[in-house]
Every structure is written in C-alpha cells, then in structure tokens.
C-alpha cells in the first residue's frame, strides 16, 4: 500500500509505501529537515505539523501542546492515508549564511572576485570544503582567483549530525553508497549554481581539490569509513589517490583530476592540514595554536619546526547541536546577547526575527549571564537572580524571548564542549613543555568563528586567556587551503609534508587529559589563575 505525501510550504510531493517514515520520505522528496540523531527518535529536532490525513506516530519528545497541535516527529511517524505536512521554519535546513557572510580576509564576499568574463576555452578549477555540517565550493579561474563561492548544508545531515552516526550508517547495506551519492549530488548542485551565475561551461572545470575530515574524504571517494571508529581507529588510507570526475560522478569535465588533501589520522583530516597551509603555520617561527571549532574540535600547535594535533570531540554544540534552541549560524539565529539590569538585548543574523541561537550566540549568552551573576561557576542558574528565569520541564530555564530559552542542560553541554577544547589545548602544550604565554598567535577556524567574540569565549574558559591581538579569526581555513593547493603544486607538496610531519596525540589514551578535563568543567576553570583577566572581572 502506498500513500501520497505533500510537504508544505515547498509543495513537494512524493509517493511512499506504508513502511516509510516521513523523514526518509522527505529526503526522497528533496525536502531538507533537521535531525541530529540519524532518524532514531533521539534528538527530537525533526518536528513537522500534520495539516491533513491520518498518521501513526510516537509521542516521544512531544509536549502535550505539540500533540494537541498535531506536531509529529518525522522519523517516528508513518502514513495511514495520504497526508499533507507543514515543515516549520525551525525544522528546515537553510543556507549557512555565516560561512559566506563573514568579516575577514578569508570570506569570499570580501575577496575580490575575478572578472566573470571568462574566455570560452579557459581552464577552470574548483576547491571544495566538505565539512560534517557544511559544503563550500569555490569556482576558480586559471589564475586561481575566485569567480564564485557557494555554500550549502551537507545533505548527509539527514543521516546524522556527527561523523560517528554517519559511519554507523555506512555499515548498513548500501549505506556508504547513499552517503557518497548524496554528497556528490550536493556538490553538483553547488557547481551548477556557480556555473549558472558566472555563465561558464562546467565542462571547462578541469581540476578539483577537496579538503575534508577523514570520514568525509572517505565517503567522497566512495570508500567505506566505518573502520575509523573501530579499534585501532585506522582509516583505510590517509594519502588518497586522485580520481577522475567521471568516476566520482561530478558534473565537470570527465577527465578532470580531483585530488584530496591528505589526512593525518582517523580524527584529524585534510581539512585541518589545509588549515595549517592556509595559515602558513608551516612557514612561521612563531609558536601557533590553531583551533577548529567544528564538531570534532581539532587543535594544532606548532610552527615550521614541529606540529602536534589532537581531536577533542567537542561535540556539535557550537554549531547548535544538543542545545534546546540551538541552530546553525543562519538567518534568525541570535548571534550576540547583552544583559543589563535584568534587561535583555540581542542581535540576530540578518536582523531577522529570532528563531534560535547559534554557537556564537550561545557563547555570548552564557558568558554574559555568568559575568552578571545569573549563572554560578558550576553553570547552575542562581535561583531568583532574574525575572527571566522560569521553571521549565527540565529544571530552570532563562528566557531570551517569550519562546527561546537557554536551559540548565544546555549550559552543561556547552561546559562539556568548551572543557574538551580547552583541555585539548592544555595537553598539546604540556606534551611539548610549553606555557600558554609562549603562544605567539592563535588562529580560530570554523563556521562559528566569524561571529565569535574572543573575550566572551575567554570568559567561558573556551579559549586560553591571551591578549586579544594574538587572536585571529580565519573563518573557513579549510577551503582556503584547498584553493591554495589547487593553485600550486608546491602547496600541495607542502600539505603532504605537513600531513606526514604532524604528530597525532590520541587524547583518549592521555591520562592527563581526564584530569585537565574535569578541572575545566567549571566557569571559567577550577584553576582561576589560568584566567587572570576573568579573575579581574570577577573580583571587580
């Protein structure tokens, strides 16, 4: 038996059998729906509203109000008749504005785009950054200038928000194939829209370079990544063979050679190597700390003489995952927050109506509430300290708008993540007998980096307490590195050398890490002497 499903407001229709859940149906119909657990009914993010028709649903994660108003979880709902469903704004996957909207030199909009009148026969190239969360494509001319930049969500998100869930999915029959083809489909869309905008012929794209974490690189090439998460955590390969576009299914010139920047280990991939190249860490004398505030939270420390790296498994909370009202940095996300005399003011991306809080906003809210005494050092709300604190379903919540709140559990998740990143930095430095004060520059990369307020991140204990002028946002360093490697054979050689020379430190086997980690699960840290400027603020 099969039923017709209509997804509003996009008006997309699809016919499915009775055993297909609505999330899978949406995927087939090309309707982007949030979910971070891979359709297991755990995250509660794929909420849809039934407009008409009968469904068989589970009430898991739904409040009494949700049930009354016909809300359902897409992944746990099956049709019993033809249905019409509405995808609410907060459940929709939109464009990652922040990645193509940032401030600094790495932002494509600030980069001088080359003239678009490309000669018919000119050889073009593409640089692709495949993040767990976001895909970014740069179309480059023969002089390696950017003609066009496009970004979208990684369509694999429908199979889970983090690499582990996707590796598990890859183990299923034809799972890896699906991951691969979805990814290729997404990239092809971006290429097509670049081509359209610049009025070029995609067949003129004759080379490509990808920078991605180890798991993404595997799925891009169609290699099963599932061994990465199994002892002894060894990827099938770190140095990956070049492929022709034809073989990969990319809609560019069939004979175009697509290369991947090599990985270091299971959890430090080519995207990090590209970041090192983009920031020129392999050429500087200055001891440099590089932090990628993505889901894996990779940290690199070193200079041209030495490089060490680790992956802190920070979790998705700086990208909005695991936070009740968390969302990725896109239109309507609260990105900064101020609190004065119990009055709230905030800014959203694109000045749209607030629909959630992105990573930069989450950091802003928690550090502001901490400094103002609304949250104590353990991350608990101080009861009665603000009129905006109300008792919710799961303990106290701070209401930023009538609807959007920050819960105690959210704060705990953020503290866990920031603790992981900070103690990762500590362990790397300690390994080499370095002090924080010896760091001469810090490069912060990631989708969140562009809107990140360094001082607030220090107050939170996420970043080491160093003078602000040592910090630099580098935005999406991964694609910048990919672009440079595409433009210069020498750079690619350097990337290979970096991947070879970088020492990977596995934090799970470092006894020091656990001790540092529990010490960092406090605001800003159990050892306040590590954060002298925060100490001054607190004592003032």
């Amino acid at each position: 038996m099969s039923f017709k499903i209509k997804f509003l407001p996009e008006n997309k229709e699809i016919t499915v059998d009775k055993d297909t859940d609505l999330l899978t149906a949406a995927l087939k119909a090309d309707v982007g729906i949030y979910n971070s657990c891979g359709g297991k009914g755990i995250c509660g993010k794929c909420k849809l509203k039934i407009i008409s028709g009968e469904v068989n649903r589970s009430v898991l994660h739904l409040s009494a109000d949700d049930i009354k108003n016909n809300y359902i979880l897409a992944c746990k709902t099956f049709c019993e008749t033809d249905v019409e469903v509405f995808v609410p704004e907060e459940s929709r996957i939109g464009l990652a504005e922040i990645l193509i909207r940032g401030k600094k030199i790495f932002d494509p909009l600030n980069i001088k785009l080359a003239k678009t009148d490309v000669s018919i026969s000119e050889d073009l190239g593409i640089a692709i950054d495949i993040g767990t969360t976001t895909l970014v494509v740069y179309l480059l001319n023969s002089g390696n200038d950017i003609l066009c930049a496009k970004a979208m969500y990684n369509p694999q998100i429908s199979f889970g928000e983090d690499v582990i869930t996707r590796m598990i999915f890859a183990e299923k029959e034809s799972g890896n194939k699906q991951l691969h083809s979805l990814l290729i489909k997404g990239i092809n869309e971006l290429i097509e829209s670049c081509a359209k905008e610049t009025k070029i012929h995609a067949k003129n794209i004759k080379s490509g370079m990808i920078a991605a974490n180890t798991t993404m690189t595997h799925t891009f090439l169609g290699i099963n990544p599932s061994y990465i998460r199994k002892i002894p955590y060894t990827p099938k390969m770190d140095f990956l063979p070049s492929q022709t576009a034809n073989k990969l299914g990319l809609n560019i010139n069939d004979t175009a050679i697509v290369k991947a920047i090599p990985s270091v280990s299971a959890y430090v991939g080519g995207d990090i190597v590209a970041g090192v190249i983009a920031c020129n860490i392999n050429h500087t004398d200055k001891p440099t700390l590089f932090i990628d505030l993505g889901t894996n939270g990779e940290v690199v420390f070193g200079n041209k003489e030495f490089l060490v790296c680790c992956s802190t498994s920070a979790g998705p909370c700086f990208e909005g995952g695991g936070i009740k009202w968390g969302m990725r940095a896109q239109s309507g996300a609260i990105e900064s927050f101020k609190f004065e005399n119990d009055n709230i003011s905030y800014k959203t991306i694109g000045q749209h109506k607030a629909i959630g809080i992105c990573g930069a906003g989450i950091i802003s809210v928690i550090s502001e509430l901490f400094i103002k005494g609304i949250i104590d050092k353990s991350g608990e709300f101080v009861d009665g300290s603000s009129k905006h604190i109300k008792k919710g379903e799961f303990g106290l919540e701070f209401f930023i708008t009538e609807k959007i709140s920050m819960t105690s559990q959210d704060i705990k998740n953020v503290i866990n993540s920031k603790g992981a990143v900070f103690s990762g930095c500590e362990v790397l430095l300690k390994k080499l007998d370095f002090e924080f004060l010896q760091i001469e520059q810090v490069k912060i990369a990631g989708g969140l980096g562009n809107a990140l307020d360094i001082e607030k991140a220090i107050i939170l204990g996420l970043l080491p307490d160093l003078p602000k002028d040592k910090y630099e946002f580098v935005g999406n360093a991964s694609i910048t590195g990919a672009k440079e490697c595409l433009g210069s054979e020498r750079k690619l050689e350097e990337a290979k050398q970096v991947a070879r020379m970088m020492t990977y430190i596995d934090l799970s086997t470092e006894p020091e890490f656990m001790n540092n980690y529990t010490a960092s699960l406090f605001l800003p840290h159990t050892d306040l002497n590590l954060f002298p400027t925060v100490k001054n603020i607190l004592e003032a």
Binding site: D376, K377, S378, N515, T518, A519, L521, F522, T526
Partner: protein, 318 residues
Amino acid sequence: MEQALEKWQGKIYELTIGATKDEGGTRSKKVKFGGINTLPFLHFEGIVPNPPLIAVEVWDTEPTEWPDVLKNEYKDVLNNPMQWAKKCEDFGADLICLRLASTDPDTINASAADASKTIKDVLSASSLPLMIIGCGNNEKNSSIIMDVAQTAKGENCLIGMAVKENYKTFTAAAQAGGHSLIAETPIDINLEKQLNILISDLGFGSDRIVIHPTTGGIGYGFEYCYTIIERTRLAALASDKMMSQPIVTFVGQETWKIKECKADETEKPEWGSIKDRGFLWEKATASAYLQAGSDILVMNHPKAVKDIKIHIQELMKK
C-alpha cells in the same frame, strides 16, 4: 651531611569545633585540628601543631547492618543515643559523630523535630564537641538541615554532608547556626576544589570547611583515596587556598560493611577469628588514613579507637 628539606609555602587551615560556656556553648572542651605546614608527621620538616582526632559514631537508631561483633560492643546502648554518646566519651572519643540515620525516608523517616530532639539529648548527655551528619538521602538531608543547625546553634558543630546537589541549603544552615561544614565529593580533586569554591562564593569562610574526599576501605579503593588526599595536600602546601582545608575520613563506615569484617568462621574458616578481624581491619585502615593526611578519623570499634589513639601519640612524638 646536610638534610634536604622541602620548603612549603602553604599551610592547612586550623579549625576548632565545639564551644564552651564562655563562648555561648555547653561543651566542656573544644577540639582543634589542621594547621600543619608539611606532610603528615614530618616533624623534622615543618610544624604539626595538632594531633589527628578520632570521632566515634553514635546512631539515632539501631544500625541493623552492623555485624554482631561490632553491635556487641554497644549492646546496652544501641537504642539510646544519650547513653551511647556517654559511653564513647568514657572510652576516649575526641568528639561524637551523631548520625541521623533514622531520618532516611526508606527506613524510619524520622522528622526534623525528631532529629532536633535527638541532638538536644546527645548534647545534654555528653559534653564532647559534636559532628552531625544526615542519612543517605540528599533531599531529606536538605529538608532537615536548617532545623538541625538551629537546634545546635552556638555549639560550633561540624555538620554534613554538603554535596554538589544540596550545598546551598547546607551552607546557609551552617552559616545561620554558626557551624563548620563538611564538603563531600566523589573522589576527584577538581570536584573537591569546585565545591569548596562554590561554598565560599556563598560567603562562607573557606577556613570553616572540612573536606570529605570519599573514603574507601583497605582492599576497597583505599589507594585511590590515598592518592586524592595526597594530591590535595600537595596542592594545599603549594598555597592553593581552596584545597587547604582539613580532611575527614569515615573509616568505620567503610570497614564494617565489607565481607572481611562480616563473614564469620563457618563461612571463612581460613580468615581466622571474626572477633579480631574487624577491629584489626579498622585499625589498619585508620593508620593508613593517618599516613594519607586525614585530620579526623570517624571510627566505630572501641578497641580500634583505643589502639589508634596510642598510635597517634607515638606518631606525634618528635
């Protein structure tokens, strides 16, 4: 040959429990502990101003889980906290540790008023300084601690256990009643320090906190506890004020629940006489915790208490 000595910057807080008549209390004496500026009993390296103390447990109800060999030591007084306290005073306890076990909602569920009466009784029966600890239920402990602290107001008691979930109520109670506070954390120096910071941030003097870092019996996690105590001490001696509190360990409680002290000769003939085994185990555990750096040992068996007292005297000799 020149002796190589460690020069420590820090010092453990010295704390007094109990208040005499002049100070608004009714105790015949006060006890002082802590104040050391070196590792335990290293008289050649620093000052060890106070000997470690022994608190003996008095329950407000008969401890049903205790093995007979321990119960027999208190058989006439098990249902009478007043006489029990008196008995402890007689055989040499430095202070009484009153355990309000009957308040546990899973057993008798005694009320705050019942607990207050017991405290008054014990205070009238014995003139030793008092430690008061609740039952195993945090929620219940929080609900009665205000009354407990008020009942004993002016007596400068040591009350507990403040844990992460209830420290706010406990701190307020200790503050209002003029008592000192035991802060308990699950065997982790960072959590230990965090709780001390949280309690001091409420305006409670950090010199009035006593750390309970979790006690494990010998053979049951003692080494972990030893390490945590040692690391706490090293941090304190390096001047970390949030780790410089005296330490209490519950030696008796951890001894008398293990099979080595409960299984009789019919069950384990190869282990020897059950009569000796338990108190020897308690003694061994107590002496091990003295070496770790415990400032107060909370104990049960009178014979173990007597022997450890002598042992402490020996250790205090310069």
